[in-house]
Symmetry: D2
Subunit: 263 residues, 4 copies
């Protein structure tokens, strides 16, 4: 649809290239064993970037808020061991400095899309920014939020559709795949899709991964947990290893049908 | 996903079988030439059922309301000539009788999903019913609306997701593809997707046709017009012949990747 | 705000006049005792029209669907005995004829606002029509739906805002009081508000009755039941007699502050 | 409805007391003359707190972003001269320190309701916080956001409903007055209503001010500008002096009918 996609380099991986990007891993980093298992398994099955929340945005202040800065050291060692770039959420501009040496891509979560103070600070770095769409943001507002980062001098912005809030209660959010071609006709930024938050129901995630690829997205971001039932956050939407493996096998076919590849 | 899909036979075509269904044609039937051209071209490219509105639901009582019963005779001849079963919208229970000999599948439009009086009357026939989701209907209400038809004795119900009304204004509706696997896990009724109304923007329709197939839908319903710019209704969302041809070529690949076929 | 309101006469009562209209009664008519008690009590406390569903629109075909035509005779006697005009929902054009002699105002429910076939038939009578807003209808579509009645020759249309479907789950619907002055600036049709459906929670109803009056509505329609806990439909949103009496006492003050009166 | 409202003291004024609070002033502070005129006029007509944005959250990074810290000195003098406490928006935790000596109440805007990092910092002060509801926040999430402030030790939180994002386009937002009694049944925090953002149309603001009072809100926050057509932000929703004066005259009657007073 007209606009040639900009390539954003994250470690060895090029988002927005002919390769279809798969970012996988747990919602929250819980311990070394969990993160290592998730990284090894998802990488073996085609994931190229590792996701894992260190600081979590939680609606209820009494919920688990993430391991915080104390876990940075071992996370840093682990991602090198795995040779996977790390994507993690940033919720406070004051965390940019300590996270910078460890993080390969900052994720701005849906509730911070309108946090322009944070976006401006990320614009002063060169680290890639994965900008999730606010769950009630017009697509136009989403593109303008990206401008807050770009305008400060950081060209490495990747967009991520993650579902919007609607009247429907069967799914946690309504994944708006129609916005993918709409954005791609107007912006050169790569567009990923997050079916885990987009549906909030693990059984619906695989079909939405395939649909995202067919809709023309440049990749997906998906929650995977060695034992979803025991996850400290959002376990109901995480794929088990088995489900992830099956999803990836079928994804490979769809990606190929769309003229792209997984690697 | 558990539930084995029920096959609904429409003429020679089996909806819900291994074959992926493509229903195509104009929003409103305007004249013989328009309908013949649309039927011939779409059939040649893989469509198996012909859509065309004879009675239109229009928000504004001053808008074009369809050709009405006077066109039935030539429409009947034409569909035989084309060997394509006809899908048309029913908006008034009193039209069932005159339409019955001509129509192969009754379409209940989004604004009539809650018209239980109409649904009950359709339940008393054996003609297949394509039940569109109300644009603000919970998926649960949609399944219950289908019960109004089934309960009266007509088992030939096919569901059709066609976008829901949300805050987003970039698209006419938000196509809710995540509901496709949700419904398929709960009901044995075939599920189609209508990306024309689902996006309301012709440029976005092809990507959503492909995404629908990857999401596990049993088929699509798409508006095609020989000259979209001159259409009497909804021309901005209709595909031109050229666009339809290109969409179908790529759709064939995606459908195959999903283990189904177009014929 | 500019447009002078048209007066719609229902029995002795003038909707849209200086008098603020209160329509009260049960969601569904269940039996003679229930309707008589509700009529007597609400009338004594300031209600001037009696509501009561004879045919109900129910999402689930297995739910109570109303008493139907068999109850018409005693309902007719009872409303005369009470000297209260009767407002009841019409769900099927074929019911117009049998209901005409008994009903003083036809209510078109939220799920039938787009049922243009029904609206046209009501336009051929002179009986007042209370047109509820579709729960997902744009205000503009609501005004156009009214045109379907007006255009056929029936000038007696009254609009009723009853809440729209949004993401919020704390209330059954979101009562859109801001649309009241918007409509009144554009149309001369009287506008009522239904806080029972608008909130779906009886404890919130009184505050929304007062707010409706302050927002400039011409009246309210409110569900009252002698024993809400035993109601066959929507009991959770009906006011008890005690709650209705208290609501009306305060309403009288607000209506007076707005320069209108209850009688 | 059960829960006794907590009183939050802002300067001489008690929010949540028998007095109905009116906060008025321009969206953005533009210059000394504008702020002085707005303060003098609104105070004379019953407003007790002065609103005025110094830092603005703007969707488009190219829009006017507010005067910033450089204006603090004269704003501080002016509010003392006027004897009106100042309410202003805080968008960045790093602004708390410079704003603390000047600001009497921090306003957290709708796009920052989920900015928990900011809320925690405000919780460490004792300055009252006016927490606007996120335009897509469930009421439950709004109450939990308030917990982020309260938990840190600042008990001076006031809630403000300001409209939610829905499918309706006739108004900028849908003002959710039904949530006022819902919140007041669950929380002791005072609840204000902002009809300026809640409707986004100045002609609809007066009716919603009156409706807010009748719904049981503890006050309103309303945009007033000496010359709305020349406002640097949101002029289409600001009241002129004349419109504000007329609104307040009628508001006085409604507030009295509800058993409260304006002073």
């Amino acid at each position: 649809m007209g606009v040639k996609t900009r390539v954003v380099q994250v470690g060895q991986h090029s988002i927005g290239s002919q390769a279809f990007t798969v970012i996988a891993g747990p919602c929250s980093v819980e311990d070394q064993n969990q993160l290592r298992l998730a990284g090894e398994f998802t990488q073996k099955n085609g994931a190229r970037l590792l996701r894992g929340g260190i600081f979590k945005m939680r609606t209820d202040p009494a919920s688990f808020q993430g391991l915080g800065l104390q876990a940075l050291e071992w996370i840093s060692s682990l991602k090198k061991e795995l040779s996977m770039p790390l994507v993690t959420e940033i919720t406070d501009a004051r965390h940019i400095e300590p996270l910078l040496p460890v993080v390969d891509m900052f994720q701005v979560g849906t509730r911070n899309m309108y946090n322009y103070a944070l976006l401006k600070e990320l614009g002063k770095t060169k680290t890639p920014v994965l900008l999730k769409r606010g769950f009630s943001a017009l697509a136009e507002e989403w593109l303008l939020a990206a401008e807050y980062v770009l305008k400060e001098g950081n060209p490495n912005v990747v967009l991520c559709e993650r579902g919007i809030r609607t009247f429907e209660k069967a799914t946690r959010n309504t994944l708006d795949l129609g916005i993918v071609p709409w954005v791609k006709a107007r912006s050169d930024l790569p567009v990923l899709v997050d079916p885990s938050h987009g549906t909030g129901v693990s059984a619906l995630v695989p079909a939405m991964c395939w649909a995202a690829a067919a809709a023309g997205a440049d990749g997906i971001m998906v929650e995977v947990h060695p034992d979803p039932a025991k996850a400290k956050s959002d376990g109901y939407q995480a794929l088990s290893f088995e489900a992830f493996g099956q999803m990836m096998a079928q994804l490979r076919q769809v990606v190929k049908a769309m003229g792209r590849s997984l690697d």
